[in-house]
């Protein structure tokens, strides 16, 4: 990444002028704290004792048998609050505390980032507001209850498809209203610079742990891609390991990398799903966390470099993989993570392949969707 926040030609900072200065300050503060010994000690302590890191790398015999190769699951589902989102939330909330912000705002799709943001806000005693589309509020009601219990205000967003894209719009607008006192805790590696970098750095703990935990070099790393944070967290530490293939799995109905064109959404230039008039199009996925028309700019860069490959999985295959995981492994995976599992189950493998799947979260939040479907 260069100084101005570009990954090749992707990224940047396409925001209303009001946010230029707050973003400059955020980048400067982050630059200062990322190298700060005390900050990193606090982060390490919280990651370990509070969030439960390192998460296990589990050799799944059943999946290995099914695929005819060795398959490992990186168990982010075992993190406190149930998904990888907590890694980023802890890091950014620490930053918010250092920056003496009195309020945290966050967008959420699946509710996992909202829960993570509400959790760290409770921990640090900072007021928290979570913006969530009405559609997601109704399909992820368990997470809505958790956020409310944690003391967060849920702000229902009724525009457009009433999902993640509109929740980001609403949170950006709210930040514009009071950037001085408000910390915008963005939940994925999207948005204007420096967010894609900050989120990637805090999520990279996933890949760093895998490197330590696995004895032989993995041949394939597979993760689902919504905004792209669990995948970039897994991929980034392996960027230079050319023999390791990186595979991102998008939802069939929300494949920005697979079907999008280069455009600008939510402050960065990346692959975006839009029509011939430049209007952002609606997406669909059974997994709320993947139901998004854009994707992090660093993935766009990885795609153009041919460093990572991006594939698609539809609702039905994801639901099938979900059920298979529950009945064969005794693990209830998030529907988002089920996309990565589904792709691995579908692919042809060689015996010597060593595959690591990021099991980004657990699926208790998805029981309503699965039982209805």
């Amino acid at each position: 990444m260069n100084k101005k926040g570009y990954f090749g030609k992707f990224g940047g900072s396409y925001v209303p002028e009001t946010l230029v200065e707050p973003l400059r300050v955020l980048a400067a503060e982050y630059e200062r704290y990322r190298k700060d010994r005390k900050f990193n000690e606090e982060l390490g302590e919280l990651s370990e004792k509070y969030a439960g890191r390192p998460t296990p790398l589990y050799h799944s015999k059943k999946l290995s048998e099914h695929c005819g190769c060795r398959v490992y699951l990186k168990r982010e589902d075992l993190c406190h609050t149930g998904a990888h989102k907590i890694n980023n939330a802890i890091g950014q909330a620490l930053l918010a505390k250092k920056m003496k912000k009195s309020r945290i705002i966050a967008e959420t799709g699946a509710g996992q980032h909202g829960v993570a943001a509400a959790t760290v806000s409770a921990l640090f005693g900072i007021k928290c507001q979570v913006f969530m589309g009405a559609e997601d509020i109704s399909r992820q009601s368990e997470n809505v209850c958790r956020m409310k219990l944690l003391g967060a205000d849920i702000i229902q967003v009724d525009e457009g498809t009433r999902t993640l894209k509109e929740a980001v719009n609403a949170t950006l607008r709210e930040w514009t209203r009071d950037p001085e006192n408000t910390y915008y805790l963005l939940g994925s590696c999207v948005g204007p610079h420096p967010y894609p970098m900050i989120v990637r750095d805090f999520q990279s703990v996933i890949g760093r742990e895998v490197k330590k935990q696995i004895k032989e070099d993995p041949t394939h790393l597979v993760a689902c891609v919504g905004g792209g944070s669990n995948s970039i967290g897994l991929f980034y530490p392996f960027f230079k390991d050319r023999e390791t293939e990186l595979i991102g799995v998008e939802a069939e109905g929300a494949a920005s990398l697979g079907r999008g064109r280069i455009g600008v959404l939510h402050g960065s230039r990346s692959y975006v799903l839009y029509d011939d008039n430049g209007q952002i199009v609606n997406t669909h996925s059974v997994a709320p966390g993947l139901d998004y028309s854009g994707v992090g700019p660093e993935h766009a860069y990885f795609k153009d470099l041919n460093r990572a490959r991006y594939c698609r999985i539809g609702d039905a295959a994801a639901l099938k993989a979900f059920r298979w995981m529950v009945s064969s492994e005794g693990i209830i995976p998030a529907l988002e993570s089920s996309h990565a599992v589904a792709w691995v189950m579908k692919n042809k493998w060689k015996k010597k392949d060593i595959v690591v799947i990021c099991l980004s979260g657990r699926g208790e939040k998805d029981l309503d969707i699965v039982m209805k479907g």
Binding site: P16, E17, T18, E21, V264, L265, D275, N277
Partner: protein, 266 residues
């Protein structure tokens, strides 16, 4: 049509604050929108008109323009349709026109081609709310090549050095955002707006126009005392409802009153 730059210069010389009215392109319908543009021009209700390309995700806009944009998009409005319609009567319009668009509709299908189309339609300048000064210099290069100015925005959070930088890039004026938050009519303007405007004008080599939230003549007077001109958006859009004759009358009354109140302010 008179060039925007010339109009702005003339206004500056005459010491009369300029008035710009904002319309969402294609709202409430394409036909009614076109009639509105011609009405404002015919009756000289503004010094120039700003026309917004509706966008699906207008992050700098409040409820009014979000809603008008959605209606316009649902009615089929797009950069191409708006440009085509404006082009068809460009030679009959006296007052200069500015195109307001988020970046993605300008990029879709090719920036170069789109800016050519915008110029051809008769627009003099662009306002791009999600393109801060200094980002994506190729947009400015392409605009210049097509004979279009870019009006950049400055905000309450913008520091003095950056205001000078923005003013150095912005033609023919600088757009000062009066307050934090998004567009939309407000009951009152922020307390420090006059002082802030004075300091922005001191930093700026080009005239400073101010908008965001100005909703009545009282507020217009406050702003026009310090700025070279005012921009009114949401308050105008809010009037566009019900039968055409009624909102034409309301807009006429609003604009004439506004003009009268700010005319001899300096």
């Amino acid at each position: 049509m008179e060039k925007l730059e010339k109009t702005v210069k003339k206004l500056k010389k005459s010491r009369r604050p300029g008035i710009s009215l904002f319309l969402t392109g294609g709202y409430p319908t394409m036909k009614a929108f076109i009639e509105l543009v011609r009405f404002i021009d015919r009756e000289s209700l503004a010094d120039f008109i700003e026309i917004g390309v509706p966008f699906s995700d207008p992050v700098a806009d409040g409820p009014t323009i979000q809603a008008s944009s959605k209606t316009a998009i649902d009615g089929g409005a797009s950069l191409r349709k708006i440009s085509g319609n404006i082009r068809s009567f460009r030679d009959e319009v006296k007052i200069p026109m500015i195109l307001m668009s988020y970046l993605n509709p300008l990029l879709a299908g090719g920036l170069e081609k789109n800016l050519g189309m915008v110029k051809n339609a008769g627009f003099s300048a662009l306002i791009i709310p999600d393109l801060p000064a200094g980002e994506a210099p190729e947009v400015m290069t392409s605009a210049r090549k097509n004979g279009l100015d870019i009006i950049f925005l400055a905000a309450p959070s913008t520091g003095a050095a950056r205001i000078r930088k923005i003013a150095g890039m912005s033609r023919p004026f600088l757009y000062y955002v009066s307050q934090f938050g998004v567009t939309g009519a407000r009951k009152s303007l922020p307390a420090g707006v006059s002082g802030k405007l004075r300091s922005v004008r001191r930093q700026s080599a080009v005239p400073v126009y101010c908008g965001f939230g100005i909703s009545d003549a009282e507020q217009a007077v406050t702003v026009a005392k310090e700025a070279d001109g005012i921009i009114i958006g949401s308050a105008l859009i809010d009037m566009i409802r019900g039968p055409r004759e009624r909102y034409f009358k309301e807009i006429r009354k609003f604009a004439i009153n506004m003009r009268k109140r700010v005319e001899n302010i300096r």
